[in-house]
Point group: C2
Chain length 273, copies 2
């Protein structure tokens, strides 16, 4: 895949336009695929874009996404957005992304203004648990895994902690690393939820190569508008029951501030499932 | 307040009946109030009840609730439920609880069957971080706080870890304790989300008495059907920025298994706000 020229691949490829009926329309690019299917975070980003354009507040504070069916790549999509409440300090909004009249993702989010203080002044800003070497010392996440082609790795540059990158070598189920847009676009409060879905599953580092980890639900709380530059991320899984895992993540910006927390419910399937 | 006879206060007070138009109807009891307003977890429980009765799968796997406006106590409510997808292994459903045509809570949940294994057999079942004395050695959560009457504490018996119960005495922002229905009703997969909203804010133990911590969003993942008896809970807050906190919680049953994880986005206001 040859990269698109310019600095706005993500913006072009999540673009939505509003029809006369109020519905938003766009086209899923195949360049954000994991194998044959669009990455879930990319579907989320397209719908979140339509949500953001439907409210007055600039930042998503909390975004929950349920993944009902895989998306169809290189195909049009529609997003129905409903503003449930538009208040002074926050707006709550839901969205349904559909293709061929089948719901693919359903989302519920609250938007606000991260630059405005909403309560007390005390700050608690947790640091990463694990030491992470600088980006040049962390290997790139490969565009090939388990026989799958990952075009999304031409869009996102993901660098993995060498201490966490090897399957099944860690006592803890943890993965950490760096992420940025491959074309140099700066991160913003809208792109962090998508970043939180772009790393390999942290269980890999404890259980070894596992087959398929479909996400049922992902909730991301955005904590601060990120500074330009790399985003540092850390994900861990301590809870796996009945084939269902909870993975929690934290993302920091280059200035060292926590910018997002994430948590997902996923299924953990063997490769032959 | 005199307690209702029998063992089903919660079931009576979250009861919903379906109208001819498919809408669910019920009446909010003032017995679950925190001060003048119904507890958010109680609103959630009423709407979740309507959701559960609208799908074939028995257990909520993940439940996200956005709190848009306080509920009105001792007043009727309506719940609109929409099943977004009813699949073989899971169903995804949304609900809007309104009173006087104003949305109070909006919810998005996926239901499944926690007794069915959905993937690999490996189990990771994390234990509590802090030592918790047995229930008789943990003081009851008071039905009075900061001049507020808490009728809900006649419905739920909450016992707090004496090491965590005192305001502003802990280095960590953590609170732990026990919870059960006051009338002896057994916990189930549907009541855990409500339990996750019944403890004092964990920031209290680090910051001292704080005024008011309205929850914007609460997501609870249910991990296992609880055994009968006490539920043990642990909540911590490491992230407070711009007056907004993220509090994460874990709940275990009397058999020692993790039965739920929770995370909420809340505002942290001074008492005079």
């Amino acid at each position: 895949m040859s990269p698109t020229a310019g600095h706005a691949q993500y913006d072009q490829e999540t673009e939505v336009t509003q029809g006369d009926d109020g519905r938003w329309h766009g086209h899923l690019s195949p360049r954000w695929n994991i194998g044959e299917n669009p990455n879930g975070g990319y579907l989320l980003a397209c719908a979140l874009n339509a949500m953001a354009r439907s409210v007055d507040h600039p930042d998503p504070l909390t975004v929950t996404t349920h993944f009902l069916r895989p998306g169809s790549p290189d195909a049009p999509f529609d997003v129905d957005v409903q503003v449930l409440r538009s208040g002074r300090s926050v707006s709550t909004v839901r969205a349904t992304l559909a293709q061929q009249d089948k719901v693919r993702v359903e989302m519920l989010a609250t938007f606000g203004d991260l630059e405005q203080n909403a309560g007390i002044d005390t700050e608690l800003d947790p640091r990463p648990t694990y030491t992470l070497p600088p980006p040049p010392d962390c290997p790139l996440r490969s565009g090939q895994t388990q026989g799958l082609h990952l075009p999304i790795m031409d869009r996102l540059e993901v660098r993995l902690n060498p201490d966490h990158a090897r399957a099944g070598e860690s006592e803890d189920a943890v993965i950490s690393g760096w992420i940025q847009f491959a074309d140099g676009r700066a991160p913003d409060s809208l792109s962090l939820a998508m970043f939180a879905d772009a790393f390999p599953p942290s269980l890999l580092t404890r259980l070894g190569v596992i087959g398929w980890v479909p996400t049922l639900e992902l909730t991301v709380q955005v904590r601060r508008r990120p500074a330009p530059g790399w985003i540092q991320a850390e994900f861990h899984t301590a809870d796996l029951q009945g084939g269902r895992m909870i993975e929690s993540g934290m993302l920091w910006d280059q200035a060292g501030h926590l910018v997002a927390q994430s948590r997902q419910l996923g299924l953990v399937m063997r490769r032959d499932n």
